[in-house]
Symmetry: C2
Subunit: 361 residues, 2 copies
């Protein structure tokens, strides 16, 4: 999607991709190698003008090697800040961005202190390499917390389980010269730790809340001298926003911008990392995004739904794998929701419902 | 642009392209051969599921060869109907679609009859292979008409020169099962026979005029059992629409739909020729399209203009060559026009003005 949006800006793309037969081969050159392959990294350093990533578990050493030789954007320090959930939460805190109470958890000796801070029920997570709800356990008692430590530890973080009202995200972008734009807050619905649906602009968000979320993003981006799209997942509870986690890349909850905004997150990311001015995105109406997970629906049925826009990733179907998404545009929220219901009926699994408590995320 | 919009629908593209280093190589496989190369055509027949074209001077024999073997859409009869300006005008007439008065012109003996019908001033055009204002002469006297016949003939058509008020186009789409959608009428501005700018929706168009243009397209598409995008160029004079010419393909005057409509002409064309349902396009606000001709502007300057969306074709600059376009989106026409003026200042040549008379087109 970055390439599809970047090609019209005059750019050409080379992808470092360890998986066989990557979809990216359709829109650029693929270097089929591991993320830490020295020859591949040397070739990128030699041939590319700028490097970006759409996956935050890029090895820090690879990013550092490249960053010594050409611009790597977002800057590798953003990878460092997001690859460790404890460091991430500590940065939020240091910047005055509210979070759920949290504490590090490495040994049985830490349990009492960690639970005194996080309180029960708590979410126990690995600090590194978690995604889509993997590497985390909800503990409702000290015994469950001890078991979680046994199962996942050491190198954990314990966080208070937040009974949030809504889960939101903000997509913001910062340019090389420090200018920023952001998209309207998006409402996200997960199931099994995987994003299933996003609605944007999130209904009923006040300008004050929107400004607050944009300010959180601005503080983080300025702190990191960030360039590119940054996504922050937020919980809304009692009119307060709590930062849950961030991603230093284009984000699934921003995929609606391909059809629902005049400038997509992908185009603005490419503009940012290549040194072009950003576009303050215009969002002329409501939009929704529904993920296609595990099985492919009938394209004829999907595209027959009013306002539906199909985006397939050319991936082999596998249970739990994101294979594409459907964006929905329309004149009003009722139209969007009616089309979303039609799309859900075509997708495998149950439609998502807004969970009563915090998703394990 | 067809490939960029078709890849997310799950399609892959192979291009038959005689020019060296075609931009299409970035988004698919290129067969570097002439349009009538037997080996290339056989390979396409073997490998493709469906064939389309974005250039109406495809040799009829190539289209016929392929159409015997796999779907060629729009159907080759649409190529036949548009490759000859006389046949095209005769079809308009037979379908009750008004045109400027016209007459065939092949020999000096035809001159008197042709000018009695077309009247002076007349536009004398070659019937075949004209584009971008080439192969036509405006004759203001019988002597000039005789000279035009000498210069261009035989195989000409003489048409009345229309002092139109505005030049419009309608982009319509028909699916394999005969359903149709269309885009709002677009106002086009030419200079030297080349499209310079389009504004959509064309300001001040009544629903009755829009319906009339859509009806013209419907008559033509139904007559030809057409599948895909059809563009019809129209003159507006005294609240009447006269059909000037049509193009059996995605059209430069529809490039604004990439940013100004929720579904572009390119996506709807791909939907049509691959048998998917069409999307009734939603156009949430005004849009403009300015062609980049001959020289490339500074991308930083272009993308700094509010609402500007840069689309480059990866072509080597040459005088008169279309190298890309800039779409402009915004909340209202004043915003669009302000941005358009900023973009014009960055592009070579004078900004277009609405010509007082009919452009030679």
């Amino acid at each position: 999607m970055l390439a599809l949006e970047g090609i019209p800006l005059g750019h050409r793309f080379t992808f470092l991709e360890p998986s066989p037969d990557p979809p990216a081969a359709t829109v650029g050159t693929v270097i089929p190698a591991a993320y830490d392959d020295p020859g591949a990294l040397a070739r990128i350093a030699r041939e590319a003008d700028v490097v970006t990533y759409e996956f935050e578990n890029v090895p820090a050493a690879s990013a550092a090697y490249l960053a010594e030789r050409l611009p790597v954007l977002p800057p590798p320090r953003a990878l460092g800040a997001t690859q460790d959930r404890l460091a991430e939460k500590q940065m939020f805190k240091s910047l005055g961005i509210p979070t759920a109470p949290f504490h590090s958890l490495d040994t049985p000796g830490d349990l009492a202190t960690a639970l005194a801070t996080a309180r029960l029920p708590a979410v126990i997570k690995t600090r590194r390499f978690g995604y889509d709800g993997k590497g985390q356990i909800v503990a409702r008692s000290p015994a469950e917390a001890a078991t979680a430590l046994d199962t996942l530890g050491p190198g954990l973080i314990a966080e208070q389980f937040i009974h949030f009202e809504r889960e939101l995200s903000i997509l913001a972008v910062r340019s090389r010269d420090g200018r920023r734009v952001s998209y309207p807050l998006t409402e996200n619905h997960h199931r099994g730790g995987i994003l299933r649906a996003s609605y944007a602009p999130a209904p009923g968000i006040t300008p004050a809340l929107q400004a607050r979320a944009a300010d959180f993003a601005a503080r983080i981006m300025d702190q990191l001298d960030y360039v590119g799209v940054l996504a922050i997942e937020l919980f809304l509870k009692n009119d307060r926003l709590l930062a849950n986690e961030m991603a230093p890349r284009v984000h699934n909850s921003g995929h609606w911008t391909l059809d629902g905004a005049d400038t997509s997150q992908f185009e603005n990311h490419i503009r940012a990392v290549t040194g072009l001015p950003l576009s303050a995105p215009r969002v002329p109406g409501p939009a929704a995004m529904l993920n296609i997970i595990g099985e492919l629906p009938d394209p004829s049925a999907v595209t027959a739904v009013p306002g539906a826009h199909l985006h397939l990733y050319d991936k082999v179907p596998q249970p739990g794998r994101k294979l594409g998404h459907v964006n929905i545009t329309g004149s009003d929220e009722a139209t969007i929701r009616a089309s979303a219901e039609q799309i859900w009926a075509l997708l495998p699994g149950e439609p998502p419902v807004l969970p009563a408590g915090r998703r394990p995320g």
